[in-house]
């Protein structure tokens, strides 16, 4: 497969995303935020980092980059997009995903490993994750508390757009397992059309044995599986 990884001025997990995709045997290249077009790609990763120092609000400024206009067209055409951490925040700010991410309830940046439960296997990003498997994946963010109004939350639930939730070791969605105060323990969601998803945890940091967990691979592999069945690469 052929992936583009967006690169904003202070993206800092861009290289990690490229690394893991290449490690899984796929083509991945960085795409500078000033690029007006994506070229031909199968899927796009919006990586983590601090796009514009995260001044104002996380992801607020990045959303206006030229490459984001191209990304919007790509997504509108059904192209697959995965936002990780800051990438998730950017996609929410750009209204490609519902809701918003606000400051952790601890008011502190939080870097630790969490358990993630996939709420559904029926998505391009979760289809290879066994129902009884909680992923062990790190988080690293200061503003990862997921918020949406009640009406939006109800819709997300009804349509199965909640993809990942923070859980404990036994899979329970407890408050103690929630690292940032996210509503419904939400760690990641997708759009209504199910081609755009975002999550706060970092699967790219948990995709190699030497890093202590390979669970994150399942997310990339789900996407790759989906891509191998989808007909033509979307172009934008």
């Amino acid at each position: 497969m052929n992936f583009a990884v967006l690169q904003f001025p202070a993206s800092n997990c861009d290289q990690d995303a490229v690394h893991v995709l290449q490690h899984l045997g796929h083509d991945a290249r960085l795409l500078w935020h000033k690029e007006p077009s994506l070229g031909t790609v199968d899927a796009v990763i919006v990586p983590g980092g601090f796009s514009y120092g995260d001044y104002l609000r996380t992801g607020a400024i990045a959303r206006f980059s030229p490459v984001m206009q191209a990304l919007r067209r790509f997504a509108d055409n059904g192209g697959f997009v995965l936002g990780i951490c800051n990438g998730f925040q950017i996609l929410c700010e750009a209204h490609l995903l519902p809701g918003a991410l606000v400051r952790n309830r601890s008011l502190q940046f939080c870097c630790e490993t969490v358990y993630l439960k996939s709420a559904t296997a029926d998505s391009p990003f979760t289809n290879k994750i066994p129902a009884d498997k909680w992923l062990r994946v790190p988080i690293a963010h200061g503003e990862g508390c997921y918020f949406a109004d009640d009406e939006t939350l109800a819709k997300l639930r009804a349509r199965g757009q909640i993809l990942w939730q923070y859980c404990d070791e036994s899979g329970a969605l407890t408050d103690a397992a929630n690292p940032n105060g996210s509503l419904l323990n939400i760690a990641g969601v997708c759009n209504e059309r199910r081609n755009v998803a975002g999550l706060m945890p970092h699967p790219e940091r948990a995709s190699e044995g030497i890093l202590g967990s390979e669970d994150g691979r399942l997310i990339f592999e789900s996407l790759i599986e989906t891509l191998s069945h989808s007909t033509a690469a979307a172009v934008a």
Binding site: L56, R63, C92, E93, V102, N104, R105, L107
Partner: protein, 83 residues
């Protein structure tokens, strides 16, 4: 005439959004022994210097900027005045 103006923008978290910072400040105030302090809300204050011409057009622009970038309508409200 080109006047030098200033937009003073206040952005506050929507009521439904968790405001842990407000809570923390409130607790700190209580801790310091200040009596009679109620709820605290913490938001952002943005000041924009404006070289622009006509106040009406500027007002329009600031409102636009507030909606599009300075605030996020999902979680925040904004208000501003121009001086």
């Amino acid at each position: 005439m080109h006047r030098s103006m200033k937009a003073k923008i206040v952005i506050t978290p929507k009521k439904a959004v968790l405001d842990p910072q407000g809570k923390t400040v409130q607790n700190a105030l209580i801790h310091m022994g200040y009596a009679g302090f109620g709820a605290v809300h913490v938001g952002k204050y943005i000041e924009v210097e404006l070289a622009g011409a006509d106040p009406q057009a500027v007002r329009q622009q600031i409102d636009d900027a507030c909606r599009k970038i300075l605030s996020n309508p999902v979680i925040e409200d904004y208000r501003f005045e121009i001086e």
